[in-house]
Structure formats: C-alpha cells, structure tokens
Symmetry: D2
Subunit: 154 residues, 4 copies
C-alpha cells in the first residue's frame, strides 16, 4: 500500500466547513433533517474531488461511471441553526472490490458533535447499471487515506 | 388498545404517491440520494397530518413541541428518474414513551422496490429541548395504525 | 393554427396542485422564497410533459436538446405555509422562433393569489450550446394552448 | 449619511464565493434554474449578517420581524456546472421607507457573468404581517454600503 506522501496526499484528515443557511431551517427553527445528509454528501463530494482526484461530475459525464449510494445511516445528536458553522470530517472505513464505505462526523464550532453518517457506495458503469472494480488510482488513494484514518483513530 | 375503526382510522395502510421531478435528478441522470430521504419524509409528514391528526407545522408553531429525527437508515435498491412515480408506504414499527419508530418503502410504478427507510423521532418540547411523553391522542392513533401494520405483515 | 381539439389538447387551462411541505418553510415559518420558483417550475414541467408531450428528461437524455431558462420574474403577493395547497396555473404567452414565454399564477385554496411568475426559455442543442428552432410538433401544441389562454383571457 | 468607515464598514464591495455541487445539477448536466436563486439569496443572507449586522435568523426568531421577498428578477447568461466556483457580488440599489432593493451578479471563475438578479424585500412585522420602517441602524449601514456601490459604479 502506498503511503499518503507518495501520492501527494495531505498528511491530515480532511474536513469541510459549512455555514448553515436560513433556507436550511424549517418552521421548527432548526435545520430540516435531509439537510444534514446534504452537508455530509457535499463534504464527501469535495473529498472525492480534491483529495482522491475523482470528481463525481467528470466521472459521470466524461467517463461513464459513477458511485451510486446504496446505503445511508445517519444520527442526529444536536440541532443546527442558521449561522452555525459545522465542520464535516470525512473518513474512509473500507475499500471493497466495488464498494466504498465512508463515514462523516459533523462538529459544530463549539465542538459539539451534531451528526454522524455512514455511507456505502458502489462504483458502477452507468449504461450497464452494473458494479465495476474500483479503478486502480482511486483505490490507491482511498487506501492511503484510510491508513491515515486508522493512524488517527489509534 | 383502540381498534382503527373506533378512531375513524382508515382500514388500509397509508401510502403517498410522488411524481419525480427533473430538478430531483443530477448529472448522473438519476435522482440525487438526499431526495429519497425527502420523499420518505414528505410521505411521513402527510401520514402524521392526515392519518394521525398531528401536523408538524401546527405542533411546532401553535403547540411548542415537535418530533425531531434522531436516526435515519436508508437503503437504495433501484434508481429513480424524472417522470417516475414512486409510491411511498408508511409503517409504524414501535411507539415508545417519547420515541416513534417508523419505516417506509418506496415502490416504483412497475412494482420495483426503490428504497426503504427506518426513522426514529423523539417527541420533544421545543423550548426546553427535552423529550416529553407522547400525547395520549397521538399515541392512541399510532398504536391503532401499528396494529393495522402488524395485521398486514402477518 | 391547429385548434386545441385537433391535437387532442384538453379544452381547459392546465393547473397543478401542490401541497406545501414542512421542509419548504424556514425559520420565519413561511415558505422560503426559492421554493415558489420550484413550485412554478414543477407545474411547468408537468405541463410540458402531459399537455405538450415533451418531457424535459427525455428531451435532454434521449434527444440532446433542452429548454434552458434565460429569464425569470417572480412576484410574491401572499405567504404560503406548510399544509397549504397552492394551485399553479400555467399560461403560454408567446412562442418565438426558439424562445418560449410562459407565465404562472399560484392560487392558495382560499382563492388568494400568492405568486405569479414569468419565464423565458430557449430551445437549445445541448452539445452545441446553441438555440435551435422549436420542433414543429412542440410549436403546434404550444400555439394551440396559447390560443386557449387568449380565449380565457378575453 | 455616514461614510462607510464611520460604521466600521469594509471599504470594498462584498462578494461571496460558492462552489457548485453535484446535487445542484440536473439531468441536463447543468445547474437547475432555482439553484441560481438560492446562490444569490445565500450571498445576500451573508451580506446582511456579516456586513449589515442583521442576520435573518435572529431578526425573525428573537426580534419578530423579517424581510420577506416580494419581487425577484433573474437572468441566466451562462450555465454553471458542478465544480465551478461562482463569485456572487451584492449591491444595494435603493433603500426605501420599508423596502430594500438589492441586486447580485454571479461571475464564474473565468470571469464570465453567469447570472444577475434584482430583489425587492420589505421589512415587516411577523405577527402583524405588515411592513414597518427600516430600523435606523440597518438603514445607516445599508445607505453607507449603497454609497460605496455608487462610487464603484461611477
């Protein structure tokens, strides 16, 4: 397995800060549940583009494959409100043959854990609608990042 | 436990049909994952308003309590595309002291199961930010509907 | 110009009813402004698919052309709240060479006009990114519907 | 009229950069029209909070007044795609008794103007549902910013 530095990977875990908008709240005056999922997926999208080097748009439009999500688990532990900043940390949990297992943790600026998610995606050929093996360069970088996650966890 | 008919409950399971819109799709030309969660939650919202008699808006705005979601699980089994109709069936799985356990199943018009979800909500006082016992009339109707779910399952 | 009945067009103006959802509201406890635009566009999408016979998805995915929006005007005259039903009426105002001019009016169930919009779209080849003449069958039906609008207006 | 510096206002025009997300695109593989309105409103929200010092959430929740939008005009001049960065510039056009007139211009990173909007909002008491005079400190800062806009325009 390559080490992060061999691939030009950052030596720190990735996180993405999101500013919560007024339009994300609902009449209960807290963020509407599906927006938590959007925050987590936007962080994952940026992680895939900027850290792993595979952005969802070009994968789909230029290369004909994508990573459809097959499973989502999400826990909401504290509410978010417009004006809050939430920092979404992204982790790679497992790299299968075609499947990718991610998790995220969303921390509010006061340090409180607001939500956590787990995702399973499958790398799939778009036209055939069938799973395909993870491309080697994607796997190399995901594996490298996963080793970084393990280091931090230990 | 009251029987459904005592409370004026319908004697059929509730489902809500949703027409998939163009704006729900993404550049992969299938529905973007968080929209599945929105479909499930909209069906649940209508179920709570029309069948259980507690609509989220009035609960929050007039009565000062709500049902924040604390857990979501979602599986996507088949893609949806603009123009598809998906029929979302709502089930009550468990009625705790303060917690409500729901599930949904989204079936495409050709009968294919596209997604399923499980939700846990907690009835909570908005200002105190604390869970409260489920109001008795809400409980009675949820219990009655749950017995209907069990009948159909058996 | 064909008369509506020659083309199997309905002899009534088209409208689409939308039930306002909790997630459409914001912390001001009324519907967030961009949702009005979504309601109007969803009505227009259904009008184009069901009445004119050109659905945006197949136009784009199978036929390589679309109707990108170049201009939107929207007035909000009364608020909407979760649980409200709004009936969106669609009008064809002008059929140019490549351009389509629509308007919508959103009426709440108590009859109050909540919003009105005006749209300009351009029929465009997707790859070339250039406007193309409106396909003849689309034009015929749009013209027929426009004559119906004029009748009602007079 | 106060000069910008008297109020601690920045001496530069405000702009907010937005990264276009995958979920903002549709099956035409460009950004879905209502998302342009969301981008413009998010920039306006941040401008009001960070530059003018009145954030929509606290205005509504703590102070019982808001700025409902009564008019929107939007022109789309070039498409946006996931991964694009769009820089949204905010202008104050007119400060009435109760009404606020804003405009925005969204520039893609290659400098191309993608969209422009014009907005009219009304400062309104939430419970009474009636317009109220713009609070003096809000007016002072809006006027100061408007003078800055005029300087840049000349």
């Amino acid at each position: 397995m390559s080490k992060p530095t061999d691939l030009g990977l950052p030596t720190r875990l990735f996180s993405h800060e999101h500013r919560v908008h007024f339009g994300d709240s609902d009449a209960a005056r807290i963020v509407y549940t599906p927006r938590f999922l959007e925050y987590a997926m936007e962080a994952l999208e940026i992680f895939m583009a900027d850290i792993i080097g595979f952005d969802w748009y070009h994968m789909n439009v230029a290369h004909g494959f994508g990573t459809p999500f097959v499973k989502v688990e999400m826990e909401m532990l504290a509410p978010l409100r417009p004006g809050d900043r939430v920092c979404v940390h992204v982790f790679v949990d497992k790299v299968g043959n075609s499947s990718l297992h991610f998790s995220t943790r969303g921390l509010r600026h006061d340090g409180e854990l607001c939500f956590s998610t787990r995702f399973v995606c499958v790398v799939a050929d778009q036209d055939a609608g069938k799973s395909i093996p993870i491309p080697a360069p994607m796997r190399a970088r995901l594996d490298a990042y996963r080793s970084l996650c393990l280091e931090y966890a230990s």
